[in-house]
Symmetry: C2
C-alpha cells in the first residue's frame, strides 16, 4: 500500500538519494544519543508510511519491527510511541524481509487488514555495539561494510497500487565457519545462495523469471561469493543479480565492501526498488534479506557467525 | 500437536517438577559457558517436542524462536543445529506467546503444516547481562524475580489431540514510567492488564469464560497490580487468575517475588498447563505472555521500562 524510507547524511550523498523520503543531516537527529536517534528514525519512517497511505496509526492492525541493538530497543521505543499492537522481530539485517514475509501471511490469511513492517539501523550504534568504540577510530579492513543509518517502513494490505507479494521463502541458517566480524559478506553469502536456490527449486522458476534478484547487504565480497556458489549449482546469476549494499553507496564514499545493516535492504527496497517497480522499470523482483546471527559475546566464546536469508518475490500485475 | 519442557535444577525442586520432560542437574549442562548451555536446552526442547509427536526435524516447516540474550544467540545457534527454516523473534519474556500467536496464523492460514515455537532463558546468563556479574553476589530486593533456567517448545499443526488455539490478542506497549530493573512485575503489569481487558472486550467474553487466566512472569508484585488495574475497569480477576512466575517456585525457594524469563511462561505452559488441560482439569485457558522491553543501555540512557503482553486462548474441544 505504501513504502517509506529515511536515511542519514552519508546515505543522502549516495547514488540513491533521490529515492528516499527524507535525508537527515545530523546522525544525532536532535537527540542526546545515537540510540535515541535511531529509534526516532524508525518512528518517523512508520509515521511517514502511514501518512503516505492517507491513514492514521489507529488504522494499522499490527506493527512488525526490529533492529540490530540489544533487546531491539529502537523498535521497542518506537512501538511504545506509536501504540500499535506490536510484534518484535530479530533477524539481524534480514529483519525487513522476515517481517514482510510474516506480514503478507497475516494479511493474506485474513488476520489483519493493514500491517506495517519497519526496521532501522545506525552506523554509530552498531559500530560501538558490535565492534569498537567509535572514538577509537579503529582501522577497517577492506572486507568490512558500512552500517546504513536509516529506517524503512512498508505498509502491507489487501488493497493498494504497489507490487504484490507473491512468494516468500523463509531461510535456514547456514554457517560456513567464518569468525571475522569484519567480513559479514562472506558469513552471510552461503545462506543467501541457499535461499535463492531453494526458492527457485520450490517455485520452478529460473533467475531469468526475475528482472532483478537483489540481496540485502552482502556488498561486493558477499555478492561475488553468492554468484560463485550459485554457479557451482549450475545457476547463473551474473545477468540480473545485485546487492542493496552495493547500490546504496558510491565506491568513492570510502565504505570499503559496501553498505550493511537492517536499514540497508529496507531503505533500498522501500525507496529505490519500489519506486522503480512503480515506474515500470522492474516488473518482478526477488529480494533476499540477509542477516548475520552472531553477537559480540558469542564471538568471544569462540563461535562462528551463522547467516540467514529470507526471500520475497514482489510483482507488478 | 505436542509440547515439551526442560528445566534446570532449581526449577526441578519446585512444585511443578513432575510436569517437565527433563530436569538437568547442572546449570552448565555439560557446556563451557552458561550461554552455550542455554542454547543446548533450547535445542533439546525442540528435539523433544518433535520426537514426542513421532516426527523428525525435516517434517517441520518453520521454527519460531527467541530468548533474552543479545541478538537472541540461544535461538540462533539452536536453529543452526536444527536446520529448520527459522524466524527469529524478540518479545523479551513474552516471546513464547508472540510465537504461538504467529504460528497459529501460519498454520490456520495455510502457509505451514507444522510449526515449532520455542524459547529459552537461563538465570545466570540473564543475571549477568541485565544486572550484575554473578560473582558479585549483589543483594536482591524483595521485588526482584528469579529468571527461570529452561526451555519450552510447542508443536502447532492442524491435527493432534491437544488444545486448540482459538484466539490471539497481540498486545500494545504500555509504559507507566517504572525505571527499576529489579521490579519487572510492576513494569509489565499495566501491559498485561491492557491486553486482558482488550481481549475480553474484543471477544465479548468475561473472566468466568475461562477456567484459568494466567500471565507469564509478573510474580506476586505484578499479579496484585494486574488485579487492581482490572478492578478499576470493573473486571474481577480474583477468582481464576494466577501467574506462571508464582506457580513455578515455592516461596521457600528464596526467589523473592517469583519466577521470570522467557522460559517461565514457556515451561509452565508446555508442562503443567497443557498437561492439566489434557487431563481434563482445565477446558479453557487464557495465557498472557508478558515482557519488559528495555535493555541495560536504554536504562543507562534514562529510559523507563516498557511492557507488553500477548494473549492466547487454548481450548479443549
Amino acid at each position: 500500500m505504501a513504502a517509506a524510507s529515511i536515511v542519514g547524511p552519508k546515505e543522502g550523498e549516495g547514488p540513491l538519494a533521490d529515492s528516499f523520503d527524507k535525508i537527515v543531516q545530523d546522525t544525532y537527529h536532535g537527540e542526546k544519543t545515537w540510540e535515541k536517534a535511531e529509534s526516532k528514525l524508525l518512528t518517523e519512517s512508520v509515521e511517514t508510511v502511514i501518512k503516505k497511505a492517507g491513514l492514521t496509526p489507529q488504522d494499522i492492525d499490527y506493527l512488525l519491527a526490529g533492529d540490530l541493538l540489544n533487546q531491539i530497543i529502537s523498535a521497542n521505543y518506537a512501538a511504545r510511541q506509536l501504540t500499535i499492537p506490536f510484534v518484535g522481530l530479530y533477524g539481524a539485517c534480514s529483519t525487513m524481509y522476515e517481517g514482510i514475509a510474516l506480514a503478507a501471511m497475516m494479511v493474506d490469511g485474513g488476520y489483519a487488514e493493514k500491517v506495517v513492517v519497519a526496521v532501522s539501523s545506525h552506523h554509530d550504534t552498531a559500530e560501538r555495539q558490535y565492534r569498537y568504540p567509535t572514538e577509537l577510530g579503529a582501522q577497517r579492513p577492506m572486507t568490512s561494510q558500512w552500517t546504513v543509518t536509516g529506517a524503512g517502513a512498508m505498509l502491507i494490505g489487501k488493497e493498494g497500487s504497489g507490487p504484490k507479494i507473491t512468494h516468500a521463502t523463509i531461510g535456514k541458517i547456514v554457517d560456513q565457519g567464518i569468525k571475522d566480524a569484519n567480513d559479514m559478506g562472506s558469513a552471510m553469502a552461503p545462506a543467501a545462495a541457499d535461499t535463492i536456490l531453494t526458492h527457485l527449486m520450490d517455485t520452478g522458476r529460473t533467475p531469468e523469471d526475475y528482472d532483478l534478484i537483489v540481496t540485502g547487504d552482502l556488498a561486493t565480497v558477499g555478492k561475488a561469493l553468492v554468484e560463485k556458489l550459485a554457479q557451482q549449482q549450475n545457476t547463473d546469476l551474473s545477468n540480473n543479480y545485485t546487492d542493496c549494499g552495493i547500490l546504496i553507496f558510491d565506491p568513492s564514499q570510502d565504505v570499503h565492501a559496501g553498505g550493511s545493516g537492517c536499514a540497508c535492504s529496507a531503505v533500498v527496497t522501500c525507496g529505490y526498488l519500489i519506486e522503480e517497480m512503480m515506474a515500470g522499470k522492474f516488473k518482478r523482483i526477488l529480494g533476499v534479506g540477509t542477516g548475520a546471527l552472531h553477537s559480540p559475546l558469542s564471538c568471544q566464546q569462540g563461535e562462528s557467525i551463522p547467516g540467514i536469508g529470507h526471500a520475497v518475490a514482489f510483482e507488478m500485475q
